[in-house]
Amino acid sequence: MTIQANIEAKITDALQPEYLEVANESHMHNVPPGSESHFKVTVVTTEFDGKMLVARHRILNQLLKDELNGPVHALSLNTLTPEEWQEKNGEVRKSPPCLGGSKAGK
């Protein structure tokens, strides 16, 4: 299973999202072609109702702990409740361009 598919499966199992998008943005960064190192995840679920952003991110960081300890170098998170998603008309922020520092990381 690809890392991308694995991330999708873990989030789907744990949070039953109404909407889920896992985008592999590794091509935007200083890594070999075909890498699975940089992901942007958008999750819309009622599980986030009444939770602060930090708490929502912690849930995902915890779920994806093994990935973050391993091959995944960057994880951009958009965590919304169904109401917030509707207010935003399904628009999420674009990820920043790489500035080259990733090689200094993992």
């Binding site: 960081n61 922020r93 500035l99 200094a104």
Partner: protein, 107 residues
């Protein structure tokens, strides 16, 4: 000093501190860059730690607040979040308020 003690002291002695890759002037990562820009736009001085220049902090900060990624923003000793959360707060106008209040409390 133990590294976790050192981090604790950093976040407690600076009302606003950003752990980032690179510096606010020369950021080395797109996420750190955006976070620093959002903070700069609040119009107050803020402390930063370049984690690429401090391997011990780089290694241990994720354990400190149980937060696996960089950048990390702390206000009044508390983890606010990373890039996504900081930008979201900035867009809502809340970041400015949090920073101003923290700076006012310290002075």
């Amino acid at each position: 000093m133990d590294i976790l003690e050192r981090i604790k002291e950093q976040v407690e002695s600076n009302s606003v501190v950003l752990y980032m890759k690179g510096t606010p002037q020369i950021p080395q990562c797109g996420f750190s860059s955006r976070t620093a820009e959002a903070l700069k736009s609040c119009g107050h001085e803020f402390a930063y730690v370049n984690v690429l220049m401090d391997p011990e902090v780089f290694e241990n900060l994720p354990k400190f607040a149980d937060w696996p990624t960089f950048p990390q923003l702390y206000i009044n000793g508390e983890l606010v979040g990373g890039c996504d959360i900081t930008l979201e707060l900035h867009e809502k106008g809340e970041l400015q308020k949090m920073v101003s209040e923290a700076v006012a409390q310290q002075s």
